[in-house]
Amino acid sequence: MAAPGVTAAPELLDLRLVFVTGKGGVGKTTIAAGLAQLAAEQGKRVLVCEVDAKGDVASLFESPPTGFTPREVAPGVWSMSMDTEASLREYLKLHLRIPVVGRIGPLARAFDFVATAAPGVREILTVGKLCWEVRESHYDLVVVDAPASGHIIGQLAAPQAINDLVKVGLIRSQTDWMLDILSDPRQTGLVAVCTPEEMPVSETLELCTRVREETTVRMSAVVVNRVLPELFSQREEEIFEQLRAPETEHVLSERVGGPVAPVLEAARLAVTMRRTRSVHLQRLQAGLFPDMPVLLMPYLFARGFGARTTRQVARSLGEELGL
């Protein structure tokens, strides 16, 4: 297992394989896309792979959904969607020289069966494909839009689980080199994404423990997404309260030419939201190892998500990494 404190956050982009995970709905796909974009802007060839194929990664580059075969969606960024059956087919072709052209039907059935019967087969085919891309050096960096934190452990622990279950055979002989890549903190890292809210923070802290205890993969950084801006300094807040006094608010409304109460109320809401969230941010920082890099990503007040926001995310990540 990796010793803590080997990798600092700026070296995140020097890794070869980065798994981006997080509780559902915290924006891990956005962060994965932003990370890929940033690495590409730094001159790297990047493969970003979506494990739960929903077509979201490609859409963040304004591109139609990609399949198992990678396609360049932005300069230096190739996108693909994981397909375990295609992964098996590729594996059989490359390693076993088993001709599968034309006779996909029986294979698909056999695959379905084996994958259901033997837990971990789907996971190993996913992790195997990713590790294979790293080993073959087709790309400088492989960014994985990985399963949500509830599922990532099963994914990352699959090679070990297979090692324990399967004593001989080709899969067994393949898990050793995968484990080498996954366990090497200079090659592989895990990035946990969360938001400064109760459940995401709790789940991230739990994930850190489980990753350490149940996998050989190293946690590289925690990304806190959607951090609201600090609206006021203390002095500004005092002045804000003066403005909210009924007579002052009335004067302000007259000067602007309409009721400003909703505008002031919205600011109060923003302050409250920020405050509730900062409690969770503090809880996160207190619960993590002191040397764990924490990257804070600003809330994006955007109309929608696409190439433009992906570049914004890349810029913020770059700033947080000190680039």
């Binding site: 509780k23 559902g24 709905g25 915290v26 924006g27 796909t29 739960d52 059989l92 076993l96 088993i98 029986p106 294979l107 056999a110 379905d112 069966f113 084996v114 259901t116 019967a117 033997a118 837990p119 971990g120 399963p147 509830g150 622990a157 279950l165 399967v166 004593k167 001989v168 055979g169 080709l170 899969i171 938001t195 809210e197 109760e198 995401p200 609206l231 500004e236 002045i239 804000f240 003066q242 403005l243 002052t248 302000l252 000067r255 602007v256 030419g257 309409g258 009721p259 400003v260 909703p262 505008v263 109320e265 919205a266 600011a267 809401l269 923003a270 007040f301 109309r303 929608g304 998500f305």
Partner: protein, 386 residues
């Protein structure tokens, strides 16, 4: 089938009063667990009766609020004091249970194994331990299985289910059928036959050659042993899985999709609603959490904010004891309104697209604080109920 017929419920309260089972589903991270717990608690206050909330993995603070410390698979009663401490009067009983996947699988094996020897062999099988303990897909089936079990005992007037987080929100709907298909699979028989008879027929030989080379003979033998053992429970399992599927489409069961209005969750919620309808399952309600206040979308206020931003200096003059800071504050307040307005309008548009699908569509505003006790749950519940 009557399940797909639109119901008459106008509010979530009416919906819950008319149903035996409410299944809260939807994307992760939208407050599904909290919503399920708050509705169950509110049902106890408003309707009475015995209400169970079956949850998967509640936040620890929420568990504390419900007095769920240290409970496992068994249902426990939430003491009435938890309600009275929150200044509420329970008219019935609130029960809660957490889903322990491993424990539920073991119980299932105990119930279905034909004899003690088979039971012990299965429980000790490393493959079984892997399936039941480690791999998340098995949550999906077991959650529905457990619901069926509890429903059949008939102890509750209302069961609110918080579905497990799944890769795909639909996995748990398909899980019972997948389980039945799996045990009826011809491939399963193929796999088991040679280890029984040692005669491999011509048709299946290539399959074994490939499987052997990939997985190794020993592992295949392990799998086979496991499934031969499981075969003894085949009939029970398939019948059970079919009964679970029937329960989901029963007219006493309704689904409640929980989401926020953020882009990804709302897309998943939309997809999920469409799938429920396509499967003739009853979509009772959509609950949208953490919705920004409507005044953020008001075009008139938006104009005022723009003007405030542009004329901050002149507007702030003489209003406070510090004109320099006041000018900055007026500008920032206006800017913040405009920023949140962008998000609120995006969300309002997404909400409009969801209308029409369910019997009831409810929005829940952003709460100032997190919900961590019964008072908070009931406050949220009151918002959703009417």
């Amino acid at each position: 089938m009557t399940a797909a017929r639109p119901g008459t419920a106008k509010t979530v309260g009416q919906l819950l009063a008319a149903k035996d089972i409410v299944i809260a589903c939807g994307p992760g991270g939208v407050g599904k667990t909290t919503t399920a717990a708050s509705l169950a608690a509110t049902a106890v206050v408003e309707e009475g009766g015995r209400v169970l909330v079956l949850t998967v993995d509640p936040a620890r603070r929420l568990a504390d609020a419900l007095g769920l410390k240290g409970i496992g698979n068994d249902e426990v009663r939430i003491p009435d004091e938890v309600f009275t401490d929150a200044a509420a009067r329970p008219r019935g009983q609130l029960w809660a249970a957490m889903l322990d996947t491993k424990q539920s699988w073991d119980d299932l094996i105990r119930a279905h194994a034909p004899d003690e020897a088979t039971r012990e062999q299965i429980l000790a099988n490393p493959l079984y331990q892997n399936i039941s303990g480690r791999f998340v897909q098995s949550h999906d089936y077991i959650a529905m299985e457990r619901l069926y079990e509890i429903h059949c005992e008939g102890k509750y007037d209302l069961i609110v289910v918080d579905t497990p987080p799944t890769r795909n929100a639909l996995d748990f709907l398909d899980a019972p059928q997948r389980m039945a298909d799996f045990f009826s699979s011809r491939l399963l028989r193929w796999l088991i036959v040679p280890y029984r008879s040692r005669v491999v027929n011509m048709a299946s030989r290539p399959f074994y050659q490939v499987a052997d080379r990939i997985l190794g003979t020993q592992f295949l033998a392990d799998i086979s042993e496991f499934f031969i053992l499981f075969q003894s429970m085949y009939k029970g399992f398939v019948e059970r899985a079919e009964a679970v599927t029937r329960l989901l489409s029963d007219r006493r069961t309704t689904f409640m999709v929980v989401s926020t209005l953020e882009a990804t969750p709302v897309r998943e919620a939309e997809f999920f609603s469409a799938e429920l309808t396509a499967r003739k399952l009853h979509l009772g309600a959509i609950v949208l959490n953490k919705v920004l206040p409507e005044y953020l979308c008001d075009p008139r206020t938006d104009k005022l904010a723009q003007s405030m931003k542009a004329r901050a200096e002149e507007l702030a003059e003489g209003l406070t004891d510090d004109p320099v800071v006041a000018r900055r504050v007026v500008g920032e307040v206006a800017e913040s309104f405009l920023n949140f307005g962008v998000v609120a309008r995006r969300e309002a548009e997404q909400q409009a697209e969801l209308k029409g699908a369910p019997d009831v569509l409810v929005t829940v505003p952003f709460f100032d604080a997190d919900i961590y006790d019964m008072a908070g749950l009931l406050q949220l519940g009151a918002q959703v109920w009417e």
